[in-house]
């Protein structure tokens, strides 16, 4: 089968790298990537572990389609217990690194313990070694780290996944970044990496991925899948042309764009920072912001943005190192630094986006936390003296300065580095943190879209759009249209989305394929790649099994039904404007039904019957 059947166990405390056979029984139950690594994690790590202690583990993991010709088949995930949330964390990234790890002959890397000195892991096919990062790449940005490693090893074809300075200094939402601007972005997986004194994983693989169970069927199935993506208006046209930013105007118009720390649901400046605006010529230099689109490994959608920042903009005019082509602007970053802070300066948002890549930060949490700071500033709770300058909503200067201070651990940036939950608690206003289980929600309002609100409240890694993307049905009509304010049927639909997404995240492909693909498009690709039975029925149950396994981990970690909720603002303050005016999230109606369809008791605990049915 497409598996190498081999994982690398790295004990950072002892400095050992040991190959181990992959547990193929678990593969049969959990497929790979998110499912399989979470299984390993739950078996090996106590749910009560301190996320930043050596006892926590960090798992780099791939799926059976990673490094194959399946479209988008280049994904890897990082699984750990998240320091921002205290919940199970699983962050997924594209780029080229995941495929390279598979080309080197590895399906997974389990990193445990803590290195006494800063190190990086160097893998060249079977050879794996820990090398000193001190006086070399420790203290360097993501971009410098990648360049220096390639130079030292005299290998321009290496792929590097690493943390920036944010992960070293303990910003609680540090990301792991690979290929300069693709990231396992959320929940602080980079913070855990930094806490282990591990700076980077650098891989070169020349073995490739073989052993496809039925090569002929695989080539036919992947080709058919690519045609579906090509013919679909979202994956074939919208995403390649406008990237994820295709959503900016759409979400704003439907009144679902959390604005100024979710005080509003529509942003008057949205058009100025949209995907469409990125195509327009700037008055300053006559060039459009966007240069081209970019694919991750194997991806036939190519939604990535490559842009060039305005050299005369105040953020970069004295810093030529930022003038070249760079990753971004992506929708979530545009929203987090833009709408959430009331800032409509496209170039300032791009600067924040590339800063997050350069230093390894989650833009959603960072932007949302700055939004909370701005609200507290306007309330007079946080003062100008504390911050060092004025920070009202709408100030591009404040957003960019605060982002830089956070990335580098300077002044008030240290407080922002805690995330909005801890920051708002510190200032006596926990209700102003727009988060669930400690993680900030992204660019969709949970009041305006009832299903999305339920998705945030129930997501196993804290608020997230990538665990059950109800926007798809409530806004885009995929696979069918539902009314944003309808609550009936949403729990059932969300469960189906969450379970299917768990399968996608375990296969090595990108969740964006699901704008066009359903499991019936994906199943033949998995079936042809892997030996054994991978029927639709089996995959559906597997998705549900993964979801419940994650839930059980969180329950053991101390979460209860009380944590399946939203900030009071979403439950009490109605949408002020737009088509969803007056709406609040009706968790009171949806949550009991959700627990019921999940086969959980009224306290949100999977019943014995459910566990037996899922083989847990």
């Amino acid at each position: 089968m497409a598996w190498h059947r081999k994982l690398l166990r790295v004990n950072l405390t002892n400095g050992t790298c040991t190959p181990e056979p992959l547990n193929m029984e678990w593969v049969n139950d959990y497929l790979g990537q998110r499912g399989l690594a979470t299984k390993y994690f739950c078996e090996e790590v106590d749910a009560k572990v301190d996320p930043l202690s050596p006892e926590n583990k960090l798992i780099y993991t791939t799926g059976p389609l990673t490094g194959t010709m399946a479209s988008t088949g280049g994904r890897y995930s990082v699984v750990t217990k998240g320091p921002l949330t205290g919940a199970i964390a699983c962050s997924n990234s594209g780029g080229y690194f995941g495929a390279e790890l598979r080309f080197a002959g590895w399906d997974m890397i389990i990193l445990e313990g803590k290195s006494p000195r800063p190190v990086y892991l160097h893998i060249e096919n079977d050879k794996a070694e820990l090398l000193l990062a001190e006086d070399f790449i420790w203290g360097k940005s993501v971009w410098d780290t990648e360049g220096l490693i390639k130079k030292r090893h005299q290998d321009p074809l290496m792929r590097v996944s690493c943390i920036g300075r944010a992960g070293e200094i303990g910003v609680l939402y540090a990301a792991i970044v690979n290929d300069l601007h693709r990231a396992a972005g959320r929940s602080g997986v980079g913070t855990v990496m930094g806490s282990k004194n591990l700076k980077a994983v650098a891989v070169r693989g020349t073995k490739g991925v073989g052993g496809i169970a039925d090569p002929k069927a695989f080539m036919a199935a992947t080709k058919a899948g690519k045609k579906v993506l090509h013919d679909n208006p979202v994956t074939g046209q919208g995403l390649p042309k406008y990237g994820t930013q295709v959503l900016m105007n759409v979400i704003n118009e439907i009144g679902a764009s959390p604005t100024r720390n979710s005080q509003d649901v529509q942003f008057e400046g949205a058009a100025k920072i949209s995907g469409e605006a990125m195509h327009e010529k700037r008055p300053t230099d006559g060039k459009p912001h966007l240069i081209t689109n970019q694919a991750c490994f194997g991806c036939t959608i190519a939604c990535g943005r490559i842009s060039q920042i305005d050299e005369t903009h105040f953020t970069v005019k004295t810093r030529p190192e930022y003038w070249g082509a760079n990753g971004g602007l992506e929708y979530e970053a545009a929203w987090a630094f833009g709408n959430a802070n009331g800032v409509d300066d496209l170039e300032a948002l791009q600067f924040c986006n590339i800063l997050c890549n350069e230093e390894g930060l989650d833009p959603i949490t960072l932007g949302s936390t700055i939004g909370a700071v701005m609200e507290l500033y306007e309330m007079g709770v946080i003062t100008k003296e504390e911050i060092g300058f004025e920070a009202p909503f709408g100030s591009a200067e404040a957003v960019t300065r605060l982002a830089e201070m956070t990335a580098r651990g300077e002044g008030f940036g240290k407080v922002i580095g805690l995330g909005s939950k801890r920051l708002c608690e510190k200032y006596g206003h926990p209700e102003l943190s727009m988060s669930v289980k400690g993680q900030e929600f992204p660019a969709y309002d949970g009041r305006a879209l009832q299903g999305m609100g339920l998705a945030y409240a129930t997501s196993n890694r804290g608020a997230c759009h990538l665990r059950g993307y109800m926007v798809s049905t409530e806004v885009l009509g995929i696979p069918f249209k539902t009314e944003p304010q309808a609550t009936e049927g949403k729990p059932e639909l969300l469960k189906a989305f969450q379970d299917a997404t768990a399968v996608v995240d375990s296969a090595g492909i990108c969740v964006f394929t699901t704008f066009a693909w359903g499991l019936p498009d994906i199943q033949p690709q998995i079936q042809a790649a892997c030996e054994g039975d991978w029927s639709l029925e089996k995959l559906n149950v597997m998705g549900e099994r993964i979801w419940n396994m994650e839930r059980e981990f969180n329950l053991k970690a101390g979460f209860t039904a009380k944590d399946d909720t939203l900030p009071p603002r979403l439950l009490k303050e109605g949408c002020k404007t737009g088509p969803q005016k007056g709406a609040v999230t009706r968790l009171d109606i949806m949550m009991p039904k959700y627990y019921e369809v999940r086969g959980w008791d009224t306290e949100g605990v999977p019943t014995a019957e459910t566990k037996v049915r899922l083989g847990l």
Partner: protein, 157 residues
């Protein structure tokens, strides 16, 4: 009619489907390290360029080979490396001005594009039309068409 690969870098997204298709056709595995076509990412300019052998009519590699392991395929015009003759001396890799013949340390032979016997898999796999397989005498046809369409022939007032 002789055909040749035509590359339009402006259409390339960097997905590497071409590299995978190439390695799968020739080695039976998905392995970009063993691809005869390579996509270069000029990151700071935001440009990606697929690059492979152009099948020179007077091929340096063919003339440089001391054991005549590189021959012309009469059907496709491809300059083919015959592994059973190649001794892995690498002189062709030095003589090729474009670097498109490379040594494969796993086999001890050199490898280069052979046009997949007339059905190049890179072109087949490319999702954006950045790599196409067209009439060798008219590789400029699409560019000509584009500029022709932009030519204003309307009578002036």
């Amino acid at each position: 009619m002789l055909k040749s690969l035509s590359i339009d870098p402006t259409k390339c997204t960097g997905c590497l489907q071409c590299e995978m298709a190439c390695s799968y056709e020739h080695e039976g595995v998905f392995n970009t390290a063993k691809s005869r076509i390579k996509v270069f990412d000029f990151h700071h300019e935001g440009r990606k360029v697929p690059y492979t052998c152009t099948q020179c009519a007077e091929a340096w590699c063919l003339h440089a080979c001391p054991v005549e392991a590189i021959k012309v395929d009469a059907g496709t015009g491809a300059k083919m490396v015959f592994d059973n003759i190649c001794v892995g001396c690498k002189v062709c890799t030095i003589s090729c001005p474009f670097g498109t013949v490379n040594y494969n340390s796993d086999t001890g032979k050199v490898m280069k594009c052979d046009l997949c016997g007339g059905d190049p898999q890179c072109a087949e796999a490319c999702p954006t039309g950045a790599i196409t397989y067209v009439d060798a005498d008219w590789t400029g046809l699409e560019k000509m068409r584009k500029w022709a369409a932009a030519t204003d022939t309307a009578p002036r007032a």
